[in-house]
Each structure stands twice: as structure tokens, then as C-alpha cells.
């Protein structure tokens, strides 16, 4: 019997798992709404758990920023609230209940994090504050939340974009609430940002990496079934020559089996279907 082909979520979780080294600390917030929750919370959780079950057994997962290595088998549903009583009762190895807490944010305890945004631009800046001018915005969004810290204090950041449309991938964000690579790594250095910054931008259509010298996004791989044309149409900035860009790699049979049988057998984290 042949296993069903990998879903996009499974592909992304596997790709991310390969990014993590043993003994790293990975931080995921708790996002809500189907697409945001999948990209911002579920895929990161599965990716970190997959890494722990393969090459990185000592990786520390921080669920909702507070719960160290939670027992995901005890989950009865993907949590939909960041500080709900349900999480108080979820078995874990350590619970952060105060700030400053167990992970020493400003000393760099967090090796990598996941964040999401409404806009991202070609420098990798992200925005969750407003669309249009700040004083009289067209759309007022939630605010900077933890984006400034994610993009400056964490070792690196995976920006998880649940939607990839022209309005999300813009020339210049309307408000920089998380700093990418303006002026490249030298530009970050000039801003006294000595570490961190976006590693990959993960979207439903492709994976972006960066040319960190000039501080510009480059397409690293394109997901199976997505055309170069569709990618260009959905992106408001110039993508350059995409002729040599490979397809996003697929999970191995072993990785798929781990995700489906060990990590998420009840499909609580990842939906059991193509999306």
C-alpha cells in the first residue's frame, strides 16, 4: 500500500526540521485562526518534534513561549489560547510564569523562533501594526507584539506567512515592527543589531532565503505545483531570475511515517488532507 503523498504542511514541517541543530531552543507563539495557527504554531511544533525524534533529541521546544517540551501526546486539541487554564495543566518540563523568566531573552537563550506578519518586504522587515500611515491607518492591526524581540534577540527567525499574495509581499512594509536586513548584515550591525534576523520566509508558495550581503530576499525553492508565474503574480516585488530555482524537497518515507504515526497520529496538529 502506498502512503498518501505529503501535504504542504508536512513538506514545510520536514524542511524546517532539517534547519535545527541539537541542543537548540526553539520558540513558537500561539497563533489562532486556521491558516495562522497552522503556519505559526502547528507546523513549527511538528518540525521541532520531528527534529527531536531524528537528529536533535536535545532540542528544547517552547510552546506558547512558556511550556518547555510539552507532552504533545496529552493534547486533546491544538490549544487556541496562549495563557489558558488548559496549558497550566499540560505536562511539560518547565513552565515559565514570569518575565524575566527561565529563558534569558536578552542574553540570547532563544536560538530560533517563528513569527507571522501581515506584511513582509524584500528586506525581510515584517509588519503587524498598520496598513497605511500610522497616524490615520487604513487598517489598524494588533501592534508590534513580540516581533521586535523575535527579529533582534532570537538567534534567527523563521517568518511563517500563511498567505502569499501581493498585499502580503510588498516592496516596503508600512511599519517596520520586526527588522530584516536593511543594508544587509552591515546595515543590521550599524543599527547595533548584532545577532538574529530572518532565516527563511516560509509561504504556501515557496521558501525565501536572503542574500545577506545586500539584504534582499531570494527564492530558495518553489513548492510542488506552484508555477513561477503564479509566484511572480503573488509578489509585489521583483524576484529576479528564477530559472535555476529547485523545487522544495519532499519528506522521506521515514519522516512522513514519524509525523503521521508518532508525532500527530490523531491529526490534532496538522489536518489530514491536502490544502
Amino acid at each position: 500500500m502506498i502512503a498518501p503523498p505529503p501535504t504542504l504542511h508536512e513538506i514545510l514541517a520536514t524542511l524546517l526540521a532539517h534547519e535545527f541543530a541539537d541542543e537548540e531552543v526553539g520558540f513558537t507563539g500561539l497563533l489562532t485562526g486556521a491558516a495562522a495557527a497552522a503556519f505559526g504554531t502547528a507546523i513549527p511544533l511538528v518540525s521541532m518534534e520531528l527534529a527531536r525524534r531524528t537528529h536533535a533529541p536535545n532540542l528544547t521546544i517552547l510552546l506558547a513561549g512558556c511550556y518547555h517540551n510539552p507532552d504533545l501526546r496529552e493534547l486533546e486539541a491544538l490549544p487556541d489560547s496562549e495563557h489558558s487554564a488548559m496549558l497550566r495543566d499540560l505536562p511539560s518540563e518547565s513552565q515559565m510564569i514570569d518575565y524575566p523568566g527561565q529563558w534569558v531573552l536578552k542574553r540570547g537563550d532563544i536560538d530560533f523562533g517563528f513569527s507571522s506578519a501581515v506584511q513582509v518586504d524584500q528586506e525581510g522587515n515584517i509588519n503587524s501594526v498598520c496598513i497605511g500611515p500610522h497616524e490615520r491607518p487604513k487598517v489598524r492591526l494588533v501592534g508590534p507584539i513580540l516581533q521586535p524581540e523575535h527579529m533582534a534577540l532570537f538567534g534567527r527567525e523563521y517568518v511563517m506567512m500563511p498567505y502569499h499574495e501581493k498585499r502580503n509581499f510588498v516592496e516596503k512594509v508600512d511599519y517596520v515592527s520586526g527588522v530584516g536586513y536593511p543594508g544587509g548584515l552591515a546595515g543590521r550591525h550599524a543599527l547595533a543589531l548584532d545577532r538574529g534576523g530572518p532565516a527563511l520566509i516560509v509561504t504556501p508558495k515557496c521558501i525565501f532565503d536572503f542574500n545577506r550581503d545586500v539584504g534582499r530576499m531570494i527564492v530558495k525553492s518553489i513548492h510542488p505545483g506552484v508555477s513561477v508565474e503564479a509566484l511572480r503574480t503573488a509578489t509585489d516585488f521583483e524576484l529576479g531570475d528564477l530559472s535555476g530555482v529547485p523545487d522544495t524537497p519532499l519528506p522521506t518515507a521515514g519522516e512522513l511515517r514519524l509525523i503521521r504515526e508518532e508525532i500527530d497520529p490523531r491529526h490534532i496538529l496538522l489536518p489530514n488532507r491536502q490544502i
Binding site: I97, E135, K138, R140, P144, I145, S177, L193
Partner: protein, 300 residues
Amino acid sequence: MLGLKSKRMSLRDAVGLVPNGARLAIGGFAVYQKPMAFVRELVRQGRRDLTIVGSANSCDVDMLAGGGCLTRVETSYVGLEKHGLARNFRRAAESGVLQVIDYPEMVSWDRFRASQEGLAFWPIPFLGGNDVLKYNAEIRPFACPISGRPMHAVPAANPEIVVIHAIAADEQGNVVFPARRLLPQSGDVLFARSCERVIVTVEKIVSKAFIRRHARLVEVPSYRTTSIVEVPYGAHPTPALGRYLSDDNHLEEYVGASATTEMFNRYLERYVRAPADHFAYLNLIGAERLADLQDLDSLL
């Protein structure tokens, strides 16, 4: 011991301590354990021109925005998490009547730490390139006096009044926090230590014996509190950890009602202005719903 001073106050009188134009910090974090009965009473009393300084806000700021009470908000987040954007807040911000000063999440806590420390500023080393700087002239660049590294001084939160919702206190104002608490409850402790006018609404006023049995958990002692107000279900529709969960049904009704100014005024009329008092509000919610929201704290 004779002559112990009671700090017990009615909700109405406690809200009366907040003048128009006050700089108010509202406890809780995002959609958790907000002193919503206090917020409703602020709207009922028609308070105006408030500045809210906070760490993460939700229906507290949104209801005050919808009630026309606000001039300015300084925080890292205003939203309703899984229930979506805060629509009254959005309208007020987009129309320009509400000034929003954005701070990073942990910096918004640091601002209260500065107040706790009696400092006018907190040193932040990681704001370079962030538009948080662009729209905030109160943040000042400076060089670390020891390393010379460029940094930014963010202003202390400096609330004039703090209001938090907790599970229990005695009449003298000793406030207990559950041992199995989460981040929002720790934020409340920090807030209560950042200001000399601290109003605490509580689920229950308890005996001195209860307080002494939980001395380890009395994180806000009597001398830090200004008034204690007994308001059962005082955080509704947000949860109070260990007592009750979030009333997601009511929050959905709230979100639906905040689609337009007119609809939200009808919501305010029904749930805030018309009820004679907090218990009349709870009767609108109904016993079955309230019972259904029960949370259990650790029995250990």
C-alpha cells in the same frame, strides 16, 4: 488587634477614584483576567480622555474605545486573539480620535519594571531600525555609560492608577495569587508594584486566617493597595485562572456587536448601561453559562 483599617469599597466608589484624563494601567494580559467589571463601570460612569498604559490589551481597551472613554493607548497589542481584531479600537485608531503608541511586548513590561525601580527610563539595546522609534519622540537614544554601546531609553510606564483583578484579598488589602499561575497573573503583580494607587477587584474577600495560611502567595501586601472591591466574576467574559474560563460565546457576541458603532451602542446599552449593577449584568449572562465556565485550580 483592634482598629484594622478596611480598604473595602463599592465598585462604583472605586471607579470614582479614576478622574477624567487619568493615566490608567489595566491588569491582565491580552484576553486573560481583565478587570472587566471595572471597565464596564468606567463606561457606565462616562469617564473621558483616559490614557491606557499596558502590556497587552483586548476587550478592556476595545470597550473603552467603543464607549468613547479613550484618548491614548500605549501598549504592544490590542486584539481579541482567536476572536479576531478589536473592532472598536480599530475604528477609533483609523479615524484618528485615538492615539496609539506602540511598544514591543517585553519592552512594555520593562516600562513597568522601570516604574517599579523608581526609574524614569529602562535601557533597551535592540530597537535599532524599528519603527517603534519613528513614531515615539519620548524614546531617547543614549550611550551605555560603561560600554559606550548605542541604546535607547524608553520612558517608564508611570501609571497614575493601576487596576487588576485577582482571586482573593482580605479587607486590609493583602492579595493572594494562585501558586499555579501563568504569565498574566505575574503581570498583575508587576503592575501592582509600579504605582502607589492600586485598585484590586477580587472574586472573594477572605479572612485574615486565609491570608495567613497563604502568606507565601500574598504577592501584593496591604501597604501596596488602595482599595479592594469584591466583584465575583469580575473578569467576565475573560477568564480568572483557577475560578472560571473564558466565555467564548459571549466574546463572539461581543465581536459581532462591535461590527458597527450603532450595534456596539446597543451592546453597551444592554450589557453595561441598562443593568442596575454587576449582578444584574451576571443575570443577563445567566446561571447556566456561569456554572459552565467553572475552572478548577490545583487541589494541592
